[in-house]
């Protein structure tokens, strides 16, 4: 019984913590891309300024 529950908890952890880790990684990547976009936009505005 305890043996079975160990596998069950392992599956639950793998699925939900794995999914959570993927979501966090996606949101972090998204924030990083947004920062890069904002930085480039600022650089372009500076270059265009007379």
């Amino acid at each position: 019984m305890a043996h079975e529950l160990g596998f069950l908890w392992a599956v639950t952890a793998v699925v939900w913590l794995g999914t959570l880790a993927y979501i966090v990684a996606l949101l972090r990547r998204q924030n990083q891309l947004q920062r890069e976009l904002d930085g480039l936009q600022r650089a372009m505005d500076d270059l265009r300024r007379p």
Binding site: E4, V11, V15, G18, I23, L26, L27, Q30, L37, L40
Partner: protein, 231 residues
């Protein structure tokens, strides 16, 4: 956009907690498998959503080749990445179920083997994209790959009929072999995973759009610098 992503993630969190409650506490244990049946709710949900993700890749790949609209390519690559994540979860949860049930972590059963091949095919798809330059060329070759790789999905489905398989089936020729409470839990899990897929696809597709914006903006900055000073 950020607000939508965070709202989606919050709604998903509620459904996720309910799914865990139904799967681990509410649904009854099965006669022969006992509590190990609960693994199935996560395993089957992951597998079905992985197949859905690859089906979306397949459809978007066809649409790209027909319409040459890069939006379809962005959805295809996003869906593939999510499909690979869910296939990975399917393989790991299957292995964790197999250890106590079959006394082995892995066996070269047709269903397992063809699913592993599927994982390799779509990891190959993602790696292949990384090696190619040129948006149009990359989209065209990826689309062809996405269509060809999908051939493995029906092979997985029919693997049980074509070859001898020891993998249990939830749905067979006689219908769904499950009591109502278990079926409800399974379907709730599949719906939760479907919501998860939609949220992930939205976030991931937006990222692809941002990447293209970034690429175009970099090119524009380079052009302006050349125009200004020639460096």
């Amino acid at each position: 956009m950020k607000k939508v992503a965070y709202f989606g993630t919050a709604v998903l969190g509620v459904f996720g907690l309910l799914d865990i409650y139904f799967a681990l506490l509410w649904s009854p244990p099965e006669r022969s498998m006992g509590n190990l049946i609960r693994i199935l709710y996560f395993h089957v949900g992951s597998a079905w959503i992985a197949f859905l993700a690859f089906f979306v890749t397949f459809v978007c790949s066809i649409l790209y080749l027909l319409r040459r609209n890069l939006l379809f390519d962005r959805i295809a690559v996003s869906s593939t990445e999510i499909g690979v994540v869910f296939t990975t979860l399917t393989l790991i949860t299957g292995s964790l179920w197999a250890r106590p049930m079959w006394n082995t972590w892995w066996t070269w059963d047709p269903l397992l083997t063809t699913t592993l091949i599927l994982w390799f095919l779509y990891v190959g798809y993602l790696l292949l994209r990384g090696t190619m330059a040129g948006m149009e060329r990359r989209a065209r070759i990826s689309s062809v790959f996405g269509i060809l790789a999908f051939v493995d999905v029906p092979v997985i489905h029919f693997a049980v009929e074509w070859w001898r398989s020891i993998h249990p089936l939830v749905i067979d020729d006689t219908g769904i072999n499950m009591p109502g409470a278990m079926l409800f839990t399974l379907m709730f899990g599949v719906f939760t995973f479907f919501l998860l897929y939609l949220v992930l696809l939205y976030i991931r597709s937006r990222q692809e759009t941002q990447k293209i914006q970034l690429y175009k903006l970099r090119e524009r900055v380079r052009e302006i610098r050349v125009e200004l000073g020639g460096f």
